[in-house]
């Protein structure tokens, strides 16, 4: 049942993708963006997100475009077109890139799911090489220990990347232009500054309909709807 439902979702996502591609080619960018967004919601894919970013950019919604391209890179870091478009958009709109910590930079080297596979495989390989020879009464060989040690080392080395994936999940981008950054989470709050669409911001915590975010320079509150998280469905 689940596989049937999954297959149906994939076919619908495919149809929506094609519809979006046609609309994009015709120049009806709002329609294209909606189709790509719906397709990506049903089945997140780097290509769909990249096209969603293009359609949003053509609509003049820089914040949504930057988010979509970043999400494309989150799923598939080797997506050069998305990376190039992101660089172009940042240069054109004078936007900053997010300040990543060293372990977050490591986490960008591979797709986020790859780290889970690597960690899982290396961990169980290490455990297997340590335990199985004894259980299966194999003759102890030095290569068993070598592989176990290697597996453990890879597992340990992948841990910072996991931390990076975890903290990057709280990274977001401002969706609307001139979003007020408030001093307090209140409607009548003092506005500290206004943030440009596409500016990076880290979610610190939420209170009601406001989110406390840390930008590259300041800490303040914005309305939750105006922040698009990297690790959220479009």
């Amino acid at each position: 049942m689940l596989s049937i439902a999954g297959a149906r979702a994939v076919s619908v996502a495919e149809a929506l993708f094609q519809q979006g591609a046609r609309a994009y080619a015709e120049g009806t960018y709002p329609l294209a963006a909606e189709a790509f967004r719906e397709s990506a919601r049903l089945e997140p894919a780097a290509g769909t997100l990249q096209n969603l970013g293009n359609a949003e950019w053509q609509r003049g919604r820089a914040g949504h475009a930057v988010l979509a391209w970043e999400q494309a890179l989150w799923l598939h870091p080797f997506n050069a077109p998305a990376r190039n478009n992101l660089a172009f958009a940042r240069r054109t709109a004078y936007l900053e890139s997010p300040n990543l910590r060293w372990y977050e930079v490591i986490s960008t080297w591979l797709p986020m799911n790859a780290w889970a596979w690597i960690a899982g495989f290396s961990f169980w390989l290490s455990v297997g090489m340590g335990v199985l020879p004894g259980v299966l009464r194999w003759n102890k060989a030095s290569w068993h220990q070598l592989v176990a040690a290697l597996g453990l080392a890879v597992f340990l080395l992948s841990l910072p990347a996991h931390a990076g994936v975890n903290t990057r999940a709280r990274l977001g981008f401002i969706l609307e232009k001139d979003t007020p950054l408030r001093l307090t989470p209140t409607a009548e709050a003092q506005v500290v500054t206004r943030l440009a669409a596409g500016e990076p911001a880290r979610l610190v915590r939420e209170r009601g309909r406001y989110a406390l975010v840390r930008t590259n320079r300041q800490l303040g509150w914005i309305e939750r709807d105006t922040l698009g998280l990297l690790a959220s469905k479009p």
Binding site: A13, E14, F17, Q18, A21, Y24, S39, E43, P44, A45, A46, G47, T48, Q50, N51, N54, W57, Q58, L75, H76, N79, A80, P81, A82, N84, N85, F88, A89, T92, P111, N113, A114, W117, L183, T184, P185, T186, A187, E188, A189, Q190, V192, V204, R207, L212, L219, G220
Partner: protein, 342 residues
């Protein structure tokens, strides 16, 4: 009047929270230590000179170490508020608020509201003549109306002496109009600055209320500030109308005086003091010293042809026509979604 009792309450709260905060649960050990602390403090107080505060003590209090924690910033800001140093108080409270410690925010916002209300009141105090600008403006308008009537009558009569008298009358009225206009503009600036501060104060009290809906003092203060704002807005509207009326009168009176000037023969024209004539408003003797336009950086104008100007403008034109390169068209097939492979 804005309730100010809260200042004391704020101090009590911020200081008391460290020792007897409602959220603290005291274990017997903690309570014992606290009692010992109180006893030691009592002994210290007994041994200390209980006389009035000396200058040395005041200086020592001023030399307190700079605040480091959000609580210290807010307490320092509250102290400055009591001392009437509003600008410093605002900076300190804002710093405390910006640290985003949620339980301190209502207190900081409440006091910030007081600071900004005080700043608005200070703006009004700086210009005591602002309150009389409206009546002065109305009086100037009335005088100008009388001068215009006089001018109409003189123009109809067409007697030189009458025209000269009306012209002099108009000149006096116009001088008063100018002075009243300046006063009204200054008052509007003052009221605008005060309004700006009070609107922020109202926002602060309302924010306090939003964070702590049970805060009756904040509700009361927000209402009081809003009432003050409403009065100030009424005054500003009145001043705006007055400024408009002054402008109209000035124009009308200027036209009449121009007509009278045309009818009065040159020998009978009354001598005027500098600034009496309308034309002299626009600095007839050229710019004042210090207002002259400096030479260009290069020293001389560069003569260029229209074609050259066109090329230059083309060079400065923003690249609004640039489109985002559709990257996937060059490096991958756009008709395929590349799905995550993991």
């Amino acid at each position: 009047m804005v309730r100010t009792e809260r200042h004391l309450e704020v101090e009590t709260l911020t200081q008391a929270r460290l020792a007897v905060g409602r959220r603290c649960r005291f274990s017997p050990w903690r309570l014992g230590l606290l009692l010992i602390g109180f006893a030691l403090a009592g002994i210290a107080a007994q041994t200390r000179d209980t006389g009035s505060e000396t200058e040395t003590e005041t200086a020592a209090r001023d030399d307190q170490p700079p605040p480091e924690t959000p609580r210290q910033f807010i307490n320092a800001g509250t102290r400055k508020l009591h001392e009437g140093k509003l600008r410093e108080a605002e900076a300190l409270l804002e710093t405390g608020l910006a640290s985003q410690v949620e339980r301190l925010q209502p207190v900081a916002l409440f006091n910030l509201g007081h600071v900004r209300f005080g700043q608005g009141a200070e703006e009004l105090k700086k210009d005591p003549a602002a309150a009389s600008a409206g009546p002065r403006g109305r009086a100037a308008v009335a005088a100008a109306e009388a001068a215009i009537e006089d001018a109409d009558a003189a123009l109809a009569d067409d007697k030189v002496q009458r025209l000269v008298a009306a012209y002099l009358h108009g000149r006096g009225a116009r001088r008063e109009l100018r002075a009243a206009t300046r006063a009204v503009q200054k008052a509007m600036k003052t009221f605008g600055a005060a309004l700006n501060r009070w609107e922020r104060a109202s926002g602060d009290f309302k924010s306090t209320l939003e964070l702590n809906p049970a805060d009756a003092d904040a509700r009361h203060n927000a209402e009081v500030v809003d009432q003050h704002i409403a009065k100030l807005v009424d005054s500003l509207k009145e001043l705006q109308m007055c400024a408009n009326a002054l402008g109209e009168m000035k124009k009308e009176l200027g036209d009449k005086m121009q007509q009278m000037k045309g009818r009065i023969p040159a020998p009978d024209m009354p001598p005027g003091a500098p600034g009496d004539d309308e034309e002299e408003d626009e600095q007839p003797r050229g710019p004042e010293p210090g207002q002259e336009e400096g030479p260009t950086r290069e020293g001389e104008e560069m003569p260029i042809s229209p074609e050259q100007a066109g090329w230059l403008l083309d060079g400065f034109r923003l690249d609004e026509g640039r489109r985002l390169p559709m990257g996937q068209e060059t490096t991958s097939d756009p008709s395929k979604r590349d799905r995550p492979t993991w």
